[in-house]
């Protein structure tokens, strides 16, 4: 699993781009990267799931954690382009009620994410 953080829109948007599988073994790295994104103090954090092929329930847990923290800090926290099977999982677990899901980073920015 690879993950990196980038900044867009003059620092207003922090994007965490993840590639590969988010399973139990990479949770510490995920938390690290999400912390990095929060530390940039953006108005919104986006997690780009385009290249994520697998995410186990504890991976979802880390995202939920990060969402709660973002909420407390007055930030938005949304997901971008989960692959169909992962979107299916988000729907089944009702997490689409918690996270907004955008097709592209551009869409998220246009919606003032």
């Amino acid at each position: 699993m690879n993950a990196e953080v980038s900044q867009l829109a003059d620092g207003k948007v922090g994007v965490v781009s993840v590639e590969g599988e988010i399973d139990f073994s990479v949770l510490p790295r995920m938390r690290e990267v999400l912390d990095e994104a929060h530390a940039l103090d953006p108005s919104c954090v986006l997690v780009d799931l385009t290249r994520v092929t697998f995410i186990a329930s504890d991976g979802l847990g880390v995202l939920i954690e990060a969402h709660r923290r973002a909420d407390e800090e007055g930030r938005k926290f949304d997901l971008v382009h989960p692959q169909p099977h992962i979107l299916g999982m988000l729907r089944k677990t009702q997490l689409t009620k918690l996270f907004r899901v955008f097709e592209t980073v551009e869409d998220a920015i246009a919606a003032d994410c």
């Binding site: 169909p84 979107l87 299916g88 097709e103 592209t104 551009e106 246009a110």
Partner: protein, 122 residues
């Protein structure tokens, strides 16, 4: 049999034998400035009608950019997820060329005219 339809801002929607036929309205072009609104209207329509049988008629479309292609791909994904069906029709040659170059003719069901498109829903 054609049932009465309606206008939703940028789209003209009619229903023909259970198929939603959508034409692009007051603009003859699809570009960055109006694609977000048009896409939102389409996504709303699909959201409201799970399992929709949707035909997009491109007769009025003289131009489109890759952002528009992106929106159509998203639309296609959403329609299929809800076990609906999407067919595109009446695309003029210059626009069809854009679909061909990007190999999106492999992804979408594209018909020459509306009558043929409607037959694809049977």
């Amino acid at each position: 049999m054609t049932e009465p339809g309606g206008r939703q801002g940028r789209l003209a929607v009619t229903q023909k034998g259970g198929v939603h036929v959508v034409s692009f309205l007051d603009r003859k072009i699809l570009d960055e400035s109006n694609i977000v609104e048009i896409a939102n209207e389409l996504f709303d329509l699909v959201e409201k009608s799970k399992g929709i049988r949707l035909c997009l008629n491109f007769a009025n479309v003289q131009y489109l950019s890759s952002t528009v292609l992106g929106k159509l791909i998203t639309l296609n994904t959403r329609v299929n997820e809800d076990t609906g069906k999407l067919v595109l029709c009446t695309i003029r040659p210059q626009i069809l060329e854009v679909f061909k170059i990007t190999k999106l003719t492999k992804l979408f069901d594209i018909c020459e005219d509306e009558t043929t498109a409607l037959s694809h829903f049977k």
